[in-house]
Symmetry: C2
Subunit: 465 residues, 2 copies
């Protein structure tokens, strides 16, 4: 175990991972020839441990954000690189970070249309072909890694390009969350159960809080009290502000459940270890009136100002996941990544809210001048119809609301699953810490066993041909 210790980086302490930053030229459109522009995607490389004669390439299929963020938080790849004598590559997803086809105009409606999973995967396929020296018979086995949307991409990469990659570790990948696949309230039911695990009273208090917040927010005096007590940057002026505030709070609870790691982390926002337990300590007895809202106010402070850098709670800043770049994702969620979300208020701790596809589609059309293709992902990637695929591990933590769209039962001998009972969102890919539960340590062991198997298989096949 000693060798892992060298790489230990606990939560928000910056890990000293070293890499080179490179650029790779890709076509704007891999699937057509009408537009023949090219642009550069960014990728990070570390080959200090690499056996360049036949060592593997461990390839992170970048998701919605700057690739440096994922490189920093995917400690698992760094920790196993020396053992496997692997080259590490982290590829940035087009239209995120600095991998912009049209510079700072890339996200404009007239340029954003080439932001799709299929185009990003084709970028990665081209990049790996280049890293293999454009060989007919590549010498380096390639394993894809990804978490969340990056996990979906890792799985899809193996499904669509099995000749390019040998296997995929798809962590917390909700590949089964498209329309008609799972109930739309599954996500927030799991958020609620993650809070219930910490403290059942906490869930009851949050459930009771919504009507009280709306009551306080509509009265001038109590609204001003909320503004002050919660340190809101802006006062709550009208019904729209109330809705925005309520949405901000719901998103806060959802994020807290996602990043409920056993160590302090700045992955999405800066938070203490086990943040759900931390915030629930303010709501651990039956509260009402001012007391209840004071408790919620303390939760807000933990969520928005754990690092002490914020002077007020900017609840109007939108559904932006702190360190992630949400603008591109919002477009993807409006085109092919349609994942219906609703709440019942009965099986979850939120206000009831139905999934209204028509309204969703109209909102998307207003924003981006496109209508979603809700069936596109099912047709392109198959949901859970993965019997013909191979060499994919789907790992999911049961504390993570995204597990609701995850693959939890092994589909075949080579499309298998790992369930991490006390894991949050792709905890298994995070840097290891002394606080890791045994289940995530076990998950990482299983990942290594699968990687061993895939590398052996690749080498045997290569010998035969």
């Amino acid at each position: 175990m000693w060798k892992y210790f060298l790489f230990l980086c606990i939560g928000s302490v910056y890990c000293e991972y070293k890499y080179e930053t490179k650029l790779f030229k890709v076509p704007l459109d891999h699937f057509g020839y009408q537009r023949n522009e090219t642009f550069n995607i960014k990728y990070l490389v570390n080959d200090e441990h690499w056996d360049s004669s036949s060592g593997p390439i461990f390839f992170y299929t970048g998701n919605e954000g700057q690739i440096e963020l994922f490189a920093k938080h995917t400690g698992f790849m760094w920790e196993i690189a020396a053992h496997y004598r692997a080259k590490l590559v982290f590829a940035e997803h087009r239209y995120y970070g600095t991998s912009m086809p049209f510079g700072n105009k890339s996200l404009d409606n007239e340029h954003i249309g080439y932001l799709t999973a299929a185009q990003a995967l084709a970028d990665y396929a081209d990049l790996i072909d280049f890293l293999q020296g454009e060989s007919m018979h590549p010498r380096y086995p390639v394993v894809a890694f990804g978490g969340s949307y990056g996990g979906m991409l890792a799985a899809y990469f193996r499904i669509k390009y099995p000749h390019i990659i040998t296997g995929a570790i798809a962590a917390s990948a909700p590949v089964h969350m498209y329309p008609g696949m799972v109930p739309c309230d599954v996500f927030d039911r799991i958020v609620t159960s993650s809070f219930k695990v910490a403290n059942a009273k906490c869930v009851e208090n949050i459930r009771q809080s919504w009507s009280l917040i709306r009551k306080y927010a509509t009265n001038t005096t109590t609204s001003e009290w909320l503004h002050k007590n919660w340190k809101l940057c802006d006062p709550i002026k009208d019904g729209k502000d109330i809705d925005v505030l309520v949405e901000f709070l719901q998103s806060m609870y959802e994020t807290l459940a996602m990043v409920n790691y056993p160590f302090p982390s700045d992955f999405l926002v800066s938070l203490p270890a086990r943040p759900v337990r931390v915030v629930c300590q303010y709501l651990n007895e039956t509260l009402d009136g001012d007391k209840l809202l004071e408790g919620i106010g303390k939760v807000l402070q933990v969520f928005t100002n754990y690092d002490g850098k914020s002077s007020c709670v900017d609840y109007k800043k939108g559904n932006d996941y702190g360190n992630l770049d949400a603008s591109g994702w919002d477009y993807q969620a409006c085109t092919e990544m349609i994942m219906p979300m609703c709440t019942t208020g009965r099986d979850d701790m939120f206000e009831a809210s139905s999934w209204n596809y028509t309204k969703y589609a109209e909102d998307c059309h207003r924003k981006y001048n496109v209508y979603p293709r809700p069936e596109a992902a099912r047709i392109q990637y198959g949901g859970d119809r993965l019997h013909a695929a191979s060499n994919i591990v789907f790992s999911n933590g049961l504390l993570d609301p995204w597990v609701g769209g995850g693959i939890l039962n092994s589909i075949s001998k080579t499309v298998t699953t790992v369930v991490i009972i006390d894991g949050a969102h792709h905890l298994d890919l995070m840097p290891s810490t002394p606080y890791d539960p045994a289940t995530v340590q076990m998950a990482r062991t299983i990942h290594r066993q699968n990687i061993d198997k895939w590398l052996k298989e690749f080498r045997e096949q290569r010998r035969r041909h």
Copy 2:
């Protein structure tokens, strides 16, 4: 065997296959949202034998031409439909036949860019999803069939969409003919060997003819003799005309080898049974001078006027395969379907001609304002790196020059091959005739055994889930 007899259609006799012609709406661009137009592709359906509770769908992945042509010549599907209680579907490839995104302007440079294999496959995936009732758990097993480029599409369809189709019969699919995969002279070496099988003298005469043709064509008197004797529509006026005539003749021999069927056929052009043997009878002894060119002239007559409908040989009409629509294909060959071709004059019966990629690319750029992406097909489809694929049969006839880019050795237990020693271009998919060699009958039996296996597998999987 009696049941097959009902469907017997020998060669050029028109088969009375009945189908409904339907339209299906597809997006212009499946992989991006910049262009949100839609258009209709055509498909043909016969469900007279279909068990609509759980019968299979046999799906022809249309290639470069009107789909009716392929429906007519893919007798194998028609002949097995009743036994399997199958629905037959023949889908027309975008930009061919009447499946035109921009009407009669579709092939203009400003509109043709969405003509790619990936887009066509995505059309087919959408169509099958529709035929399955857009179900999460489709009830009908789907088997893809295709010959030639259609065979490549059938194989690629199973590789990329294994959740949509259960297996693929890929007949005469040169999936391994992209740059760097096989020697560029393989195609014309096989043309030559197909002629040699008919008559070794024939090959020697053709090999000797080129310099004689060039000599005759450059002298006014003998050139006029050629014009008359060969019934050329246009006289041979200059060096360019000579090159065009030589190219026409080479293409003629290539086509004769491809469609060297044991029965009369009008598949590409109207021809007698075993056309290579028929034409070689005019070249079956050592000839020279007028005698040699008179022989070649007789070959020309068989090739261009077997049905007696042509008044002269239109050698300037270009490399158009009679019944196929070559204009779209020429564009595909200039973008992703790069298949290097050359001749040595040593191992084949043609003038030596090297493969010059730079010239090829510049010609493409001049015509279509695009440069080829010679590596695109290798990266997208993998050539012969198909170890992770399953349920594909690659069948190839050894008389067919395209066998040079075919998969001849089984890759795994589920990616297997059938070699038809005395078969021409996808003979196994053609309507059966009393003239069929035993090897093609055996190939069709193996196809049926594989289809049995795939349907059983699909049904077992469906029962389990």
